[in-house]
């Protein structure tokens, strides 16, 4: 279900190459200051298609970015384009966007179906169309069994899904979700993640913002990292990791006889270090991850040693963020 993005995010690309002619969202050297405070500084990015994770702690600039995107505030400098038009004071793109905010009061006394139908009607549909559309989206988020129950009786996970459903009415091209998994039980979490991935696979542009890194990891590899109002990195998370060569890359191999295997690995020029802290694992360090991985399969076969596992221990978002921010999150 993840789009095959093997070919993107090579070491040379610094900016996001738009896939189609116009990216759905385009930021061109955008800054936003409130008096002395710089909420966003010189942000340039283009997002189009698939699921993109927007990462950053509170205060990193996520909410400012969303507000700018939705045209709720104006940039201090730079240009923003949403579906090719300036969103500031321009409600035109709204019908193509579904926004799921972090905090939203739902009408507890209504049934899920009523709630979504009401919002559908705001899009200008007739009652019948609206009900059908509401049923469609509610079943997309797996709430068809309980759509006739009152929202007040719903668990947190179910409420989140109602929020997502009502944003999906009228089949928007761009869906923005702000912390969608907060407080959800495991079942709801899996359902919501699947919904997001499916939307991406269907070709929609989905933005998911969260500060819970391992959840984003399970949803998408395309990320934008915001930190103190600047974009620290964007693109494929693994490609980002590869670019951080001041931190040596690590490859962890599970094998029976690590020291025997090491005798073969040491011949690879790009390997800068090896360690054996675990009797059944061999840790390789290198500044050229790609090159080593390219040579590794043949080398392992030639050595005759049995390898049952390969891993990149610090190729997760947590480590990437740590390296990028120098630990000062």
């Amino acid at each position: 279900m993840m789009p095959d993005i093997t070919q993107h995010g090579t070491a040379e690309t610094k900016e996001w190459e738009p896939v189609a002619n116009t990216p759905v969202i385009l930021f061109d050297r955008v800054s936003k200051t409130y008096g002395r405070i710089s909420a966003l500084g010189g942000v340039s990015l283009g997002i189009s298609g698939g699921v993109t994770g927007i990462l950053g702690m509170n205060g990193a600039g996520k909410s400012t970015m969303f507000k700018l995107m939705m045209g709720k505030i104006k940039p201090s400098s730079g240009a923003i384009r949403l579906f090719g038009t300036d969103p500031w004071k321009n409600p035109a793109p709204y019908s193509r966007i579904g926004f799921v905010p972090e905090h939203e009061k739902l009408y507890d006394w209504m049934t899920a179906l009523d709630f979504v139908t009401t919002f559908a009607r705001l899009h200008g549909m007739t009652r019948d169309e609206a009900t059908k559309e509401a049923e469609r989206v509610l079943s997309f988020v797996s709430l068809d069994e309980v759509m006739h129950k009152r929202i007040g009786q719903f668990s947190k996970g179910m409420r989140q899904r109602v929020k997502i459903a009502h944003a999906l009415v009228n089949d928007p091209e761009l869906i923005i979700l702000d912390e969608p998994l907060q407080g959800c039980d495991p079942l709801a979490r899996t359902t919501i993640m699947n919904v997001i991935k499916e939307l991406g696979a269907m070709g929609r542009t989905v933005l998911v913002s969260s500060h819970i890194l391992h959840e984003i990891e399970r949803i998408t590899e395309q990320i934008v990292i915001l930190h103190r109002g600047r974009v620290l990195a964007l693109g494929n998370s693994h490609a980002i990791r590869e670019m951080l060569d001041q931190h040596p890359h690590k490859i962890l191999l599970d094998c029976e006889k690590p020291r025997e295997l090491a005798k073969s690995i040491i011949d690879i020029d790009e390997v800068t270090g090896m360690s054996f802290s675990n009797p059944e694992k061999l840790l390789i360090e290198t500044k050229h991850l790609g090159e080593v991985h390219q040579k590794l399969p043949q080398l392992i076969i030639d050595s005759g040693e049995k390898v049952t596992g390969i891993d990149n221990p610090d190729d997760d978002l947590q480590s990437i963020l740590l390296y990028l921010t120098g630990g000062s999150i």
């Binding site: 279900m1 993840m2 789009p3 095959d4 993005i5 093997t6 797996s142 069994e145 668990s155 407080g183 039980d185 495991p186 079942l187 899996t190 359902t191 699947n194 693994h238 599970d254 790609g290 991985h293 390219q294 590794l296 399969p297 043949q298 392992i300 076969i301 049995k306 390898v307 049952t308 596992g309 390969i310 891993d311 990149n312 190729d315």
Partner: protein, 320 residues
């Protein structure tokens, strides 16, 4: 070494007129932690009621802790603790007295019951709150109180029905830890009915899966996972070619973007993968045995039972 069976049944059947709620179940539940799973209407609650001795069987035999369900219900209920899914506490009583009363109801002396009530509430993490009225408790605290009521007489078997129902992440975590401690440290058996796979996977070693009153699967989670072992790899570059090559070599491959799952056919599977990678010139960035989650397991089981399920969500609804 055959472990003692805490629950066993032979051809256990319960019919309500023409509707067969439990259909000839041959169940063997060992000592330890077992998850009772199944969609709504599968017969989980009916099964629990028969175990508790609250409803009559239509036919078949059943034993709990060695005692016959039909004739020795009292002995059974002296040795098991039940934690129901729904509210089962008097809101106007303080927790300590509620738990003490539940101990007296099983036959404990009032002062011993009081002592044990303190211990039980301490154990479930309500040591500070035990003098408060149950009506002031959050859902998590109520669940913990129910567990304390079930544990007060140190039963050999605890039956917990959806123990993490309505709990937030922290409370859920603590509840599962408590159940786990009871099994591992206390050496007691727990039968946990739940629809949350994660919970069952965390606490239980064995599962019993019911579907439409029939037994769909039974056994150790470990053994059941062995049904479908796979190796998961993440590649970088030439993913589709890699998939092709692997299938050409006769391996079962599933692919999603850069992630592939290859059917485990023995120890040489890993080498085969690496050889294919060397051939194609692709980088294998990650390779490890895929730990099938309980969810995956069920999808496989249900497929084998001939039902078209897309996700375990479907599993938990009525399957036509």
């Amino acid at each position: 070494m055959v472990r003692d069976l805490v629950i066993e049944s032979t051809a256990l059947t319960k019919a309500y007129g023409p509707h067969v709620a439990l259909d000839s179940l041959d169940i063997k539940i060992e000592q330890g932690s077992t998850g009772l799973l199944g969609p709504n209407g599968a017969g989980k609650s009916t099964f629990l009621k028969t175990i508790l001795g609250l409803i009559q069987l239509t036919s078949g035999e059943g034993k709990v802790l060695g005692y016959d369900i039909r004739t020795q219900g009292d002995q059974i209920r002296q040795r098991i603790g039940y934690m129901p899914e729904y509210d089962a506490l008097n809101p106007g009583m303080e927790a300590i007295h509620q738990v003490r009363y539940s101990g007296e109801l099983i036959g404990m002396n009032p002062n011993i019951a009081l002592q044990r009530a303190h211990q039980a509430l301490e154990y479930v993490g309500l040591g500070e709150q035990r003098y408060r009225q149950v009506s002031t408790f959050s859902t998590g605290m109520k669940q913990a109180t129910k567990l304390a009521c079930a544990l007060i007489h140190d039963p050999q078997l605890i039956i917990a029905d959806e123990p993490s129902n309505g709990l937030d992440a922290q409370a859920r975590n603590f509840m599962l830890t408590t159940l786990d401690t009871t099994v591992k440290q206390g050496q007691r058996s727990v039968l946990m009915a739940s629809h949350l796979m994660d919970d069952v996977e965390r606490v239980c070693d064995n599962i019993v899966l019911l579907h439409k009153g029939k037994l769909a699967a039974q056994g150790k989670i470990e053994d059941l996972k062995a049904i479908d072992r796979e190796v998961e790899i993440h590649v970088w570059g030439s993913a589709s070619k890699m998939e092709e090559t692997l299938s050409d070599r006769g391996m079962k491959v599933r692919r999603e973007g850069r992630v592939m799952r290859i059917g485990h056919t023995g120890e040489e599977t890993y080498n085969q993968i690496l050889e294919a990678a060397a051939d194609v010139g692709t980088q294998v960035r990650r390779m490890h045995d895929h730990e099938a989650s309980l969810e995956d397991l069920f999808l496989v089981i249900m497929e084998r039972l001939g039902h078209d399920v897309k996700s375990s969500d479907d599993l938990l609804r009525d399957i036509v």
